[in-house]
């Protein structure tokens, strides 16, 4: 489905042919639409959706805060700064991979600064992490604005398009850059379910249960930053997936991370693929950025959860 309608039979034929099945001749037009445009985009959406949702679930467990998302450790702001540099200095025009590369470098730099600030005497101060995350994110956002001040109109438009989050630019080339870090990051995050459950008890209790809190927190933060940075560098920051997908699944399945993490991977993948579909179809001749779709769905839900949790706390 998309602005050009490819018949179902042809879609199936293209896919089967690529998998090596002898389905006879395939129309080259369909082949290029399906294989060069749609397939990488759907796979990218699934991968990015899974990465963001799992990272969100991990952050919410790690910080013991249902409102946490990967953006807290500066991933988005850093990626934005990297992206704007790549665009303004013209690297992005020269090579497809330069924007993702700069974006991921930017987000890893921001995250690294936040980590360094929040590690004190062999412990990760979660409160400091939150505040340092805020400060560093603001700093990088200001840097982004500064660069944009001197940027050309074209670059500003390109940046805005990227910053709203979209999957239109996902091609095999860009996907190839990130598939390994995302897949490895996801796989490693998924085995930390039990540790995340124990961490929910709080630092003291987790340690009294024999959990090396510092090592586990560091491992999780590094994995989340690599996974998320890899995801947002090709799609731009896509809001709210990391927040609402784990939330909905926690309501449905309970908070046990051994179940929540794989479910978030699956749920995040499906959610972003679906949102991307909406983004492509909702307007006839114009694509809406998928970040807009997820935010339009996510923001009201965020408020809903907020209001409900406040009501519960005040005993209403």
């Amino acid at each position: 489905m998309g602005s050009v309608t490819v018949p179902w039979a042809d879609t199936a034929a293209v896919l089967l042919a690529k998998l090596g099945f002898p389905v006879g001749p395939v129309d080259a037009k369909w082949d290029s639409i399906i294989f060069l445009v749609r397939l990488p985009r759907v796979l990218g959406a699934a991968l990015i959706g899974a990465a963001l949702a799992v990272s969100g679930a991990v952050m919410q467990g790690l910080l013991r805060n249902p409102m946490a998302d990967p953006g807290i450790i500066g991933v988005s702001a850093g990626a934005g700064f990297g992206a704007v540099l790549a665009l303004s200095f013209g690297f992005a025009a020269q090579a497809v991979w330069s924007l993702p590369l700069f974006a991921s470098l930017g987000s890893l730099t921001a995250t690294a600064i936040i980590f360094v600030l929040s590690i004190r005497r062999g412990a990760v101060g979660l409160f400091t992490l939150l505040l340092a995350g805020l400060a560093v994110s603001t700093f990088f956002a200001a840097g982004t604005s500064l660069v944009l001040t001197f940027a050309s109109r074209d670059n500003i438009a390109q940046f805005l398009f990227w910053a709203m989050g979209n999957l239109a630019g996902v091609r095999w080339e860009s996907l190839a850059l990130v598939v390994v870090p995302i897949a490895v990051g996801l796989a490693l995050l998924l085995v930390f379910g039990r540790e995340l459950n124990v961490l929910l008890l709080g630092e003291l209790e987790a340690r009294s249960l024999g959990l090396n809190v510092f090592a586990v927190r560091m491992a999780l933060l590094v994995l989340v930053s690599v996974t998320t940075a890899s995801a947002v560098c090709i799609s731009g920051p896509i809001g709210f997936i990391g927040l609402i997908v784990p939330h909905i699944l926690r309501l449905l399945l309970g908070p046990d991370h051994r179940l929540l993490l794989p479910a978030s991977a699956l749920g995040g993948a499906c959610f972003l693929v679906a949102c991307d579909l909406v983004a492509r179809l909702v307007l006839a001749n114009q694509e809406v950025n998928v970040g807009i779709v997820t935010a339009l769905l996510g923001a009201p839900y965020f408020v809903f959860v907020l209001v409900r949790s406040e009501k519960r706390e005040s005993g209403l």
Binding site: R194, N197, L201, R207, S208, G210, G254, D256
Partner: protein
């Protein structure tokens, strides 16, 4: 060779935020014991427990069943000692059974599912704490007592010989407070070593085999409850006057806190009987007055209360008239007292001398909750005497006494302002 203690600490020191919290603590606990850590807020009870569990950096030595703590990794420590902290929350609503299962963490491999052994130990822990039937319920829907039992089960699921309980009864109803300690007592009887920080001295006295009294990061006293819970030790540690006495009803150690400052040793003599003096004695004694009472007989609540407070009391045998000797003594105290209080007592021929004694009081308060005529069984002489007393007395109801004392300056120490 003597067997190793289950827990042993020597010269344990711990600094937190630039403050010396523990300043050289020695402590040991054997299997089968419940050792209670008591002491005022900030004495270091919680810190000590955390140091014993290897959760805070400390200097000095801690041994768990003979093994030095600093040579064990976190997992080994978690299999040797389980800590039940003061308050735990899980942020997200977990069912009780999963919470208990978290206690199995130090026994589980990363890629292994829960083993039959895990499930067996969890089941046993939940049976023991009577939480089996709560298994599927979400933690945040449980009552305080149930939650605490679930967390105790979680600590038990850790399957350790040493249990460290940090004020396990704090914020619980009194029936649940005892329950938690009964579990702890049973666990000790099963051959575990329990160390518990306890703020309630009565519970400590009742359930602990030994008590360690901490004050300002040091051990002030250590031993069986009766040896540690003495007025001197408690005054030392808590900086207040405390009376310790066997409770007349339960026979267990009980204590009563005195304010001590207000009365400043002023002498108040209380004339009562038949339970009329008890509320007055309870009010005055803790305020630091030098209280005396008379004439009371064995079997009277008033006498029990006065004895509990260690109040000097004139007594005489029950069911007979007040002896001359007792009358003289009673009158002497009334004459000496800065204030004499005649309680809302019933008067018959046997205790008429109590009113008589009050006549020579320097300053007099008569408590009259109901008409005297209803309490007069003498048929005349008492009414006359009572009327005479009332003429020169301040007449109050019993529950007005506290307010009157405060207003009239009787609560102000003798050495201030008044001439």
């Amino acid at each position: 060779m003597t067997p190793d203690h289950a827990v042993e600490a020597a010269d344990l020191r711990c600094d937190l935020g630039g403050h010396e919290i523990l300043r050289g603590v020695d402590l040991h606990t054997d299997l089968g014991e419940i050792v209670g850590l008591i002491g005022p807020n900030g004495a270091g009870k919680s810190t000590l427990l955390k140091c014993l569990g290897g959760l805070l950096p400390a200097r000095g030595r801690v041994l768990l069943q003979g093994r030095p703590l600093d040579q064990m990794n976190v997992r080994e420590v978690a299999r040797a000692a389980a800590l039940m902290p003061q308050n735990t929350s899980l942020v997200y609503p977990f069912p009780a059974e999963q919470v208990v299962m978290l206690g199995r963490y130090p026994h589980q491999g990363r890629f292994r599912a829960e083993s039959a052994e895990d499930r067996r130990v969890v089941d046993q822990a939940m049976r023991f704490t009577d939480t089996r039937r709560l298994a599927g319920q979400l933690l945040d829907t449980l009552s305080g007592g149930e939650r605490q039992r679930v967390f105790l089960a979680k600590a038990l699921a850790q399957d350790t010989r040493v249990l460290l309980l940090d004020e396990p009864s704090a914020s619980l109803d009194f029936s649940y407070q005892e329950q938690i300690f009964r579990y702890a007592r049973d666990l000790a009887a099963q051959g575990r070593a329990v160390v518990a920080a306890i703020h309630d001295l009565r519970l400590a006295a009742r359930f602990c085999t030994r008590i360690v009294l901490l004050s300002q990061g040091r051990v002030v006293a250590e031993g069986p409850p009766a040896r540690v819970l003495t007025p001197d030790h408690l005054a030392d540690a808590y900086g207040v006057k405390v009376r310790v006495y066997p409770n007349a009803v339960t026979g267990e150690l009980d204590y009563h806190l005195e304010d001590g400052s207000a009365g400043a040793g002023r002498h108040v003599h209380v004339i009562g009987g038949g339970g009329s003096a008890a509320p007055v004695l309870r009010l005055l004694a803790p305020l630091g007055y030098l209280v005396t009472a008379g004439v009371l007989s064995p079997g009277d609540t008033d006498l029990q209360v006065s004895q509990a407070f260690g109040i000097l009391t004139v007594t005489c045998p029950p069911f007979g008239p007040i002896t001359d000797e007792a009358f003289e003594e009673n009158q002497l105290l009334a004459v000496d007292a800065d204030l004499t209080i005649v309680c809302n007592l019933v008067v018959g021929r046997n205790n008429l001398a109590n009113l008589e004694a009050a006549r020579r009081a320097r300053r007099l308060v008569v408590l009259e909750d109901d008409e005297f005529s209803g309490r007069d069984f003498t048929g005349g002489p008492a009414a006359e005497l009572y009327a005479a007393l009332k003429l020169r007395a301040t007449v109050l109801k019993t529950d007005e006494l506290a307010g009157w004392l405060a207003r009239s300056g009787e609560l102000v120490p003798r050495l201030s302002i008044r001439r």
